[in-house]
């Protein structure tokens, strides 16, 4: 295979990457752009993580020690925005860029120039967003959900920059998603049917449709805010005939699919890793596809469960409660399939597998607390407490973030041509695993005991658990520097990886040499469909 590609390169006028910095600015190569997305996401992860550590440092003890409450509010807001839009989403787009063309035997993404634009919008969007912290009146301080009128009537002047930054992120995401859909539907290797695609490709196809459907709604809601603030309209202003509750409905119509956008690609990653290290085919491939589609469909009709306490007719509460509980069914199918894949497999526990198993266990814990929150009458007690914080951090940190780390360890040898240091990788896993649980598990208890979220100070009875939580947060935060060290070490000095890398790995990406050549699958006859998915 490698010989074919080498030969092809000599014949072709096309060549390897351009030299120097401009390679990255002008690149239209899916692998370069994937790399850019992943590094950008990691930088944002560290920035958002720093904000989280400011929060945890302030909450280490009751009372106000380190930061003013106004700044604390900006930290909670910016932590959420940066992690959601800057870390998790770009990381998945980066993985999509690297992997989708290689998994479906395509030479590149379908729209390479647009791919370049979608990435390069992001640094500008996030520079603008982060710069609000230095402006007069401070940055956004209304929570990542930016409920009106906090984000309109009572917002700091920098809110306009926030709105424009959200517009840019939205444009970037929509362009990226269009690219993914067109690539998957038009550029599959000849003979590869939809039901032969690896699950990562499937979950991304569905995620891309979700993004195309809801990112414009987010753009719409921030546009309405912009008009309320600057052009005297009253979309969310009760005095002018508008309604602040409308904001919440429109926001969560975007927001609920958004949280699945951050988890569906993770399902795809875990469905690739578990079969490899269990050395078995994925159990229930078709049911995985249907379950993912059902979750995507349900995500559009359950937004009201974020608003139980806002005021809703009884019938509405019941409808949103039961519809939400219904999501547990396809999710349960998935968890069952992963466990059934491991059942009687000859398992080994390399770092990607450790992260994947931790994903299954901890994501299930997060899902279960989500089920508790879906019970409308109980939600009145949980609303806006640390129980909610614990819930969504369990699905996002050991959920989305662990899956991204699993993916990086799993495909890093393919990308760089070098193996990472297994011992350091396992150390990173265990530090992260312990850190995450020490941080977020106690938050369930303080939440049930009534500690509200987004506050810089708290009653004395919450002191012990908050201290534990802060210790865990610093442990988790600083272990991520080890992750950086491992990746750099792997690129610089890792030992040579084979093309197959993992004994049990299946899929087209493993049929090309490691590191993956700059151009892969330039002609369809290089594709061996039998390897398409495990």
């Amino acid at each position: 295979m490698s010989a074919i590609i080498e030969e092809h390169h000599h014949d072709d006028h096309h060549h390897g990457p351009a030299k120097g910095l401009m390679r990255w600015v002008f690149t239209t190569n899916h692998k370069d752009i994937g790399t850019l997305y992943l590094w950008f996401s990691f930088m944002m992860f560290l920035l958002g993580g720093t904000f989280a550590l400011v929060i945890r440092a302030e909450l280490f003890q009751p009372g106000l020690q380190l930061v003013a409450p106004e700044f604390f509010n900006q930290m909670t807001t910016m932590h959420g925005l940066i992690m959601v839009f800057g870390a998790v989403m770009p990381a998945f787009v980066g993985l999509a860029n690297w992997l989708i063309p290689m998994m479906i035997g395509a030479p590149d993404m379908a729209l390479p120039r647009m791919n370049n634009y979608s990435f390069w919008i992001l640094p500008f969007a996030f520079t603008m967003l982060a710069s609000t912290l230095l402006m007069e009146g401070g940055g956004p301080n209304f929570g990542w959900t930016f409920y009106a009128p906090l984000s309109t009537t009572y917002a700091p002047p920098s809110v306009t920059y926030f709105i424009f930054a959200v517009h840019l992120m939205g444009i970037s995401s929509i362009m990226g998603s269009i690219n993914v859909v067109v690539t998957i539907l038009n550029l599959r290797a000849p003979g590869m049917t939809l039901m032969q695609m690896p699950l990562f490709v499937w979950t991304w196809l569905i995620t891309a449709y979700l993004l195309i459907a809801v990112m414009p709604v987010l753009a719409g809601v921030v546009t309405m805010m912009l008009m309320d603030i600057h052009f005297g309209t009253s979309f969310f202003n009760a005095a002018g005939g508008g309604d602040p509750v409308l904001f919440q409905h429109v926001f969560w119509f975007f927001g609920h699919p958004e949280v699945y956008i951050m988890i569906l690609p993770a399902f795809g990653i875990v469905s690739a890793i578990i079969p490899t290290f269990a050395r078995k085919r994925l159990f229930g491939y078709a049911s995985m596809v249907y379950a993912t589609s059902s979750i995507a469909f349900l995500s559009f009709i359950v937004w009201g469960h974020h608003m139980f306490t806002v005021g809703m007719p009884l019938a509405g509460e019941l409808y949103f409660m039961y519809a939400t509980m219904l999501i547990a069914v396809p999710t349960g199918v998935k968890v069952f399939n992963w466990i059934a894949t491991m059942w009687q497999g000859s398992m080994t526990f390399e770092t990607p597998m450790l992260f994947a198993i931790a994903f299954v266990v901890l994501f299930t814990i997060g899902g279960l607390s989500g089920l508790m929150l879906s019970i409308a009458p109980a939600d009145f007690q949980y609303q806006d407490t640390y129980f909610v914080v614990a819930h969504f951090h369990y699905v996002l940190v050991p959920g989305s973030i662990f899956s991204i780390m699993a993916a990086v360890y799993y495909w890093l040898p393919k990308w760089t041509g070098h193996m990472y240091d297994e011992k350091l990788g396992k150390t990173h896993f265990w530090l992260s695993f312990i850190g995450v649980n020490v941080t977020f598990f106690p938050q369930h208890f303080i939440g049930l005991a009534g500690m509200p979220r987004r506050i810089p100070d708290y009653a004395l009875q919450f002191a012990d658990y908050n201290m534990i939580s802060s210790v865990g947060a610093f442990l988790f935060g600083f272990s991520q520097l080890l992750f950086l060290v491992i990746v750099i070490k792997c690129i610089k000095t890792g030992k040579q990886a084979t093309a197959q890398v993992w004994e049990g790995a299946h899929g087209l990406e493993w049929t090309v040499p490691s590191p993956a050549p700059y151009h892969t699958f330039s002609t369809p006859d290089e594709v061996n469909l039998k390897e398409a998915h495990g």
């Binding site: 195309i212 709604v217 009253s234 009760a238 429109v250």
Partner: protein, 185 residues
């Protein structure tokens, strides 16, 4: 190679879908008002009610209606109902009023926004006259009684025995007048 035109067609379709969803976001605004009207969500009451037929007064049934008045944000006016609660029969026309005073040193403009709980009752509370249909302008120190005339529909569900009608008073002095809605529905 895949035809470029095939890619372009699909991009146009998907971009069209994205633009359509942007429009849908805005369509949610009128849609929300319609749904609120049908379901009584948010306790939104209807526009001025015109009685067309003489309603039958249900003397056998008594419903309690409570009045609440509150100020939004830093609104400085004194605002309170003249009576806290009334016992009324469904179908009869009732009149009450709210007292309002501007203690500030400047002329101010206000708009009140009504809400009914339980939400299910909102559709059965008909207001033939309400200060919430207009804005109030008071000079410094001026006060007035603002009238409210309403009918509780005879079809009010049996399980509802008490209604709460709450008004929130907003300071709209600063807002550009042509853009402030003329009625608070």
């Amino acid at each position: 190679m895949i035809e470029q035109s095939q890619n372009r067609r699909m991009v146009l379709k998907l971009a069209g879908a994205a633009i359509g969803m942007f429009g849908f976001g805005f369509a949610l605004v009128p849609l929300y008002d319609v749904i609120c009207e049908i379901t009584g969500l948010n306790g939104k009451t209807g526009e001025q009610y015109v009685q067309t037929t003489e309603a039958t007064i249900d003397k056998d049934r008594t419903v309690t209606i409570q009045f609440l008045a509150s100020n939004n944000g830093a609104m400085a006016w004194d605002f309170r109902p003249q009576v806290r609660s009334m016992k009324v029969h469904p179908g009869e026309v009732n009149t009450t009023s709210f007292y309002v005073k501007n203690p500030a040193l400047t002329t101010m403009l206000a708009q009140s926004v009504p809400s009914v709980t339980p939400f299910a009752a909102a559709a059965y509370l008909h207001k033939t006259e309400c200060f919430c249909f207009t804005q109030q302008q008071l000079t410094a120190g001026e006060s007035m009684d603002m009238p409210l005339r309403f009918i509780i529909d005879s079809d009010l569900p049996e399980h509802i025995q008490t209604l709460t009608l709450s008004y929130t008073l907003f300071d709209i002095t600063e807002q550009p007048q042509d853009r402030v809605a003329s009625s608070a529905e």
